[in-house]
């Protein structure tokens, strides 16, 4: 009201202000409900966690982050030197390196094959079957694959030991035991889960490629391999970038599967920076949440650097 009174001297200014105010009042109600949740439980928490990471806030010692002392970058300095943080970041990186290529390229191969199925009903059947695992929630997928990999009742080792006889009971692989085999097992589980959903992304991209493009390339005598690289792969590149960035984010910050597989056993490969953060914040010692927040943000910053690099690496060179 006050601002209206001030600008009342110039009628055109008032009208413009009035117009933009009503435009705000008419359009923002559509965004506000979404922004309420987004800001409240997504944007603010991540900023607030950054704030907490500069304090010495320990849940069992301090009433609130405000009553703890402000320590600037002390937590970060400690975290960088903490072998558990270093190992945790490295372990997450190893898992991501094993997981990412399969999650990006397997669906691409399947999508190219499904796209070439001429019979529409058959193609639709393939799509539905491939999508079935996507309808099962993550921790339940883990439960299911825990059984698959199990030594006692698991069908995988049953086939390897009893049917094929590749291994015997003494040296059969313990899939979720220790070492990097755990990561491969988790990666295969995630591939199984994500295959159908990611295939759909590629299929959406493939459907935008005009079929004449292939025909004219064939008339020009291009080999199938060349056609794949120059047309199919080139057109799928934007989708590839989106998937690489999104899956990198979920893989590097994975936590549910790690806690469910290895618990809080620090010697296990599943004790990554995310599990260390959770352990520090909610479980061990004085529940040093200031330090845990710093560990979380250190991992997040590392991820942002990689994401920026990915965008740079995939930039359009044309």
């Amino acid at each position: 009201m006050a601002s209206r009174a001030v600008t009342a001297r110039s009628p055109s200014g008032t009208a413009a202000l009035w117009r933009s105010t009503t435009r705000f009042a008419r359009t923002w109600p559509y965004l506000l409900p979404a922004l309420f949740f987004f800001v409240g439980w997504q944007l603010f928490p991540i900023v607030r966690t950054a704030w907490i990471s500069f304090t010495s806030f320990s849940f069992l010692l301090d009433d609130s982050p405000e009553s703890a002392s402000w320590v600037w970058f002390d937590n970060y300095v400690d975290a960088v030197q903490d072998p558990l943080v270093r190992e945790g970041l490295l372990k997450a990186a190893i898992f991501t390196a094993i997981f990412l290529p399969g999650m990006i390229f397997l669906p691409m191969v399947i999508a190219v094959l499904v796209d070439r199925v001429a019979n529409q009903r058959l193609a639709a059947t393939y799509r539905v079957i491939l999508l079935v695992p996507a309808m099962i929630p993550g921790p339940l997928i883990f439960l299911l694959w825990g059984w698959m990999y199990s030594n006692g009742i698991g069908p995988i080792n049953y086939v390897l030991v009893d049917v094929l006889g590749v291994y015997d009971l003494a040296n059969q692989p313990t899939w979720l035991g220790s070492g990097n085999l755990t990561f491969l097992s988790l990666a295969m589980m995630e591939w199984w889960w994500g295959l159908g959903f990611h295939t759909m992304f590629y299929l959406a991209g493939l459907s935008t490629i005009p079929k004449e493009l292939y025909e004219s390339a064939r008339v020009d005598g291009a080999s199938e391999w060349r056609i794949f690289w120059k047309i199919t792969f080139a057109r799928l590149r934007p989708i590839l970038l989106v998937l690489v960035v999104l899956r990198f984010g979920t893989a590097y910050a994975l936590i549910d599967e790690y806690i469910l597989t290895g618990g809080f056993d620090r010697s296990k490969p599943t004790y990554t920076w995310t599990v260390y953060m959770w352990d520090t914040a909610f479980q061990v010692g004085d529940q040093n949440r200031g330090y845990a927040a710093a560990v979380g943000w250190l991992g997040t910053l590392g991820m942002l650097v990689v994401v920026l690099w990915l965008f740079y690496a995939f930039r359009n060179r044309d």
Binding site: S20, Y30, M135, F142, P155, T274
Partner: protein
Amino acid sequence: MATRAEPETIATTRRLAARRRVRVPWGSIVKHGILVVTCVVILFPLLWVFLLSIKSLPDAYTNRIWPHNFEFGSYRTALTAIDTLPQNIQNSILLTLATMVITSTVAVLAGYGLVHLPTPGKAIVLAILVGSLFVPSRVTGLISIWEIQDRLGLINSTWGLILPYQTLALAVSIFIMRGVFETIPRELAESARVDGAGSFMILRRIMLPLVRNGVIVVLITNFIAAWGEWLLANTLTNDQEKRTLTVVLASANAGFGQWLWPTMAAMFVIAILPGLIAFIFVQRWYMRGLQEGALKG
């Protein structure tokens, strides 16, 4: 000439076709072979777990895939084995329904506002939403989410989980709805506005029927996110009767021992069945929704 040449060309094409038919279509065999094997790999674990749930106990101990004896009693045992289970199932249904309804509604409103209304500052809102996809806010923000819930007195409250649950798939849902709304010509809303319809009337009467398939995609996305959420529910609640089915089931492996595999399997089947049944019913619209631009957003 032309009339006499015609039978000849037909004969030639027939002969060519015959020669082609004799040649083994290796490409097609390999293509369908890979796809069928993939489908078997996809379906096998699910069939296996279903089989486990109807195995008799002695059969379940051995890892033999096909059992000697079937027993269907595990489903009855499953519902009574964990005494909080009915409450956990109820919690899961409550949270999942609330998340599906609320997030989908706010995503439809936001998607509409971002595409078909002259919303000031929409570029900034979009940029922040895109940026949020690259930050693991659920993990890194957890410490602060705990603090917020604590200040609101909502630690160990099932209802309280509704608030953080809305952000599980919020940004993705808004992108999906934005992609779907963009496939609708702006002239449609324009002409309705000229006829004197308000923006909400246009959304309800004209837009909603057109974005129906996209809404189904968003509903399913939120169903999966909420039904299977583990980290928040596990961190923000303590008592078993306040927790969701997923959390109890995921930890039951340890607390339950290895004694009752068929019962565990039966619980698992009960937990995944709602999603699979719902998917089978709506998959037609879901597929259409995906193709209509949900994946292009």
